[in-house]
């Protein structure tokens, strides 16, 4: 396998094609257009595949729903304001237990916001996002290589658990170029998922639906979804730790913020500060058990996010008062550099007398 230099958005698209993505539906929005354009160039004329530039984000996600109904690996991508529009469809996908991959290259909000990278859609992504009681698997990549790997993992997880999977990236990850290696070749035959609608030939007709006039039936549907969520939490929770063994302070950060924090931590380690990083990779399911375990020995935490403190709440819930949690955030699309974050970590470190 050779590495190629590629921007994050294009890397997702290439990885998706290699993961057997058959259908892509999208709508232009910055900072993720390279993904849509890559699909237009490389998927739209591919045998058995389909690409549609939809009339809206709402239409795009409902096309994904249709393609998933028909048993295809399908995806859409967008950025924050567009992801808000997709929530209707994501709720239906979750309710109908249909796999799909949705990429959110986050930008600053609220409203139209900015086109600069942000992490302010964490709540929306990890709490379901649309109406109703449901969750989606949420992956938080922090490099172009991870974007490629996680895209492949996202399709596998979506099929395995019949669930929409969200890749929660950001404008920096989408735009920056890094060497990337694709660990799979595109399949020659596209698989059709079991239980899909392809016409009732040689079997009874099937229905894919969400509506029921019987609340007890719907309650059981909710319970069955949450039984599966429990399984996902048990089987699929992933995270990374960096220099935490002897750490007196651990920074908890995800995605590009974790990458920035890692730079800060490397510099601080060189100065002799015992600091480490805990990086949730699955943002839902959130790695609360590992954090709880860590809190037995490490008491000081700093949550760093490019928002006003969203994952912060998950960290607080996980620690349940066992450790002390501080927060540093830059909202609105401001991207702090490692030296800024290092100053914040160092200040807390000395303030708390951890030296």
């Amino acid at each position: 396998m050779t590495k190629v230099l590629m921007d994050g958005n294009s890397a997702i698209a290439e990885a998706a094609i290699r993961a057997g993505c058959q259908c892509y539906f999208g709508y232009p929005i910055t900072p993720q257009n390279e993904l849509t354009e890559y699909m237009a160039l490389n998927l739209s004329r591919r045998k058995g595949c389909a690409f549609v530039q939809a009339e809206s984000e709402v239409a795009a996600i409902n096309m994904v729903y249709g393609a998933s109904v028909a048993g295809a690996r399908a995806m859409t991508s967008s950025s924050s304001p567009g992801i808000s529009l997709k929530q209707e469809g994501i709720s239906y996908l979750a309710a109908c237990e249909l796999p799909a991959v949705i990429v959110n290259m986050q930008r600053g909000g609220p409203g139209l916001g900015s086109i600069s990278a942000a992490q302010s859609d964490y709540f929306q992504a990890t709490r379901g996002g649309g109406h109703g009681d449901y969750r989606t698997i949420v992956l938080g990549p922090s490099s172009v290589q991870e974007l490629a790997d996680m895209t492949m993992r996202a399709f596998d997880l979506a099929d395995k658990y019949k669930i929409p999977v969200i890749i929660l990236g950001d404008g920096v990850l989408g735009q920056m170029k890094e060497p990337v290696e694709f660990k799979r070749e595109a399949p020659t035959v596209l698989a059709v998922r079991e239980g899909s609608l392809r016409g009732a030939k040689g079997r009874p007709s099937r229905i894919i639906k969400t509506f029921t006039s019987n609340p007890s039936e719907l309650e059981e549907i909710n319970w069955s979804l949450f039984r599966r969520y429990t399984l996902i939490k048990k089987e699929e929770t992933t995270f990374e730790t960096f220099l935490t063994e002897d750490a007196r302070l651990v920074v908890v950060a995800f995605g590009i913020a974790a990458r920035i924090a890692k730079g800060a931590i490397k510099n601080l380690r060189a100065e002799g500060l015992k600091v480490g990083l805990m990086r949730p990779i699955t943002l839902w399911p959130f790695p609360d058990e590992p954090l709880k375990e860590m809190a037995k020995t490490i008491k000081q935490y700093l949550v760093f996010e490019m928002n006003m403190g969203q994952m912060l709440e998950d960290v607080q819930l996980a620690l349940a008062g066992q450790g002390e949690v501080a927060f540093y955030g830059r909202p609105g699309g401001v991207i702090p550099n490692p030296s800024e974050v290092a100053r914040v970590i160092a200040r807390l470190y000395y303030q708390k007398g951890l030296k």
Binding site: A54, G66, A70, R198, G202, S205, R206
Partner: protein, 251 residues
Amino acid sequence: MKAVYKYPKSLKRAPFHYCPGCGHSVAHRLTCEVIDEMGLQERVIGIPPPGCSVFAYNYFDVDMAESAHGRGAAVATGIKRAYPESVVFTYQGDGDLAGIGTAETIHAANRGENITTIFINNAVYGMTGGQMAPTTLRGMKTTTTPYGRDHILEGHPIRMSEILALLDGVAYIERVAVNSPANIRKAKKAIAKAFQVQLDGSGFSMVEILSPCPTNWKMTPIKSWQWIDEEMTKVFPLGVYKDVTEKKVAD
């Protein structure tokens, strides 16, 4: 002996939940008869909408996937693009197709998606209790136009067949009614034609069906049949609005 009545194979033997005099049951049956006669039961994927016909999947014995309100044409696009061998139809009401789903409808039609739409126009939101629809006639009283639809305040009835017929991706559009035996026979022919257009890969096809809603119109079933002839067809004239297959013959 010649059979004069047969239960359609693709219509499940379940009693309809529709109100007495409602046009949905007739439209369902006609669609099922066409599916049977064209031998499509094993290829069809139907897309019912939210609304009175959300339970269409309880009656159609074909694969069916419920769509979000108004998104039928987008869902149909996804299915058809993923599996072009399928025969896909959406079944949509006027609020669904001409209100919340106008964008999806127009753009699927304009892309020339090879799908068929059965559009039930009864000029009201039925299941929610008779509110004004985009197709509500001027002067018509509904629960949200209690003084009668005043076009100055509430706008005009929208004519979707006429609008869609302007689009290059559209192959066939006909407006029919299910308010008399003669019209019901014409409606069936239109539905069959719309499916044939899809099978031929000619583009988007739609049959708009003027359909009685006696409950929300607050009329007897017979009066509601008459009202379609006397009032509704003045605003929504019956007929073929586009037929590219006819053009080919004329060339």
